[in-house]
């Protein structure tokens, strides 16, 4: 088929456009902080409810990562768990396919 890799190319274009869009937004919005939308949402809640954000306390006590470094380490761990699962299964399937082709 002529369009064997059309999906790959489309995905590449989508990612590139996405990156370009990011570079463009960050260049025209000099003050953009790129904070999480969760954080922005929480700010809006304290605006709407009239309760200052630091006065909103967890209902159930919660462990908070002491620093951004530790938080990003734990996020990386989450992605790694997913990556291992995906890699393991694709490898298993490739091996299975090879095995059946040889016999």
């Amino acid at each position: 088929m002529a369009y064997k890799y059309s999906l790959e190319i489309l995905a590449l274009i989508a990612v590139l456009v996405f990156c370009g869009l990011f570079l463009y937004t960050s260049s025209i919005m000099g003050n953009a902080e790129f904070a999480g939308s969760d954080t922005v949402g929480s700010e809006k809640i304290s605006e709407l409810s009239g309760i200052p954000e630091d006065k909103i306390t967890p209902v159930i006590p919660q462990w908070v990562p002491p620093s951004g470094e530790i938080e990003s380490a734990l996020f990386a761990l989450q992605a790694a768990i997913g990556g291992i699962m995906v890699g393991l299964v694709f490898g298993y399937w490739i091996g299975q396919k090879k095995g059946t082709n040889n016999t």
């Binding site: 989508a14 960050s26 790129f34 999480g36 939308s37 399937w93």
Partner: protein, 230 residues
Amino acid sequence: MHIMEGFLPLHWAVFWWAIALPCLLYGIYRLKKVLDADREALPLLGVTGGFIFILSSLKLPSVTGSCSHPTGTGLSTICFGPWITSVVCAIVLLFQALFLAHGGLSVLGANIVSMGIVGPLAGYAVYRALRDTRVNMFLTVFLACAIADMFTYITTSLELALAYPAEVGGIGSSFVLFMGIFAITQVPLAIVEGVVLALVFKYIVQLKPDILLRMNVFPEEKINAVRSDS
């Protein structure tokens, strides 16, 4: 899409838990049934669940100058349906609530409803509607994944709007307000997520078409058409 711990009034937190719990129990029941019927479904669950782990850990910048997560729930929804997907989402969200302070235990119910139930249900509706039509299989996957992602954030906006109606305009105007924060940020992310997951689906079809056929994910002709030219 995480509502932060403490940011939902207690009665709303309990309300969303009351919706999430029966769905989760049903999901666990379905999961057991699917795995008992076919052990080869487990690797497929590993791949589709793995992408929920990966994609929901990525905070990506968007056009609104803030960052947000993709959800990655679409693939699992197509292969296993929304209920099993909500079980995987609950595991991811529990991890994030316990170790990352993203969301929390009291708001976990609300977060499961948005990411694990309403989003996948919306994606599943798109998939069911297009599955037996002439629409291209990968376009169907793309649309289902992107819609599941978008509806997750629309639901978060609705959950917050219901809990915090604006003084002027009530629930409607605070829904618009939260949509401005969550949904607009999400549009480019949902598109990229859809394309990437469609590509992943292509590799699953090429490597392991028989499991997709056995689980009747797509009609045989559609899967075979992609198989033969690979």
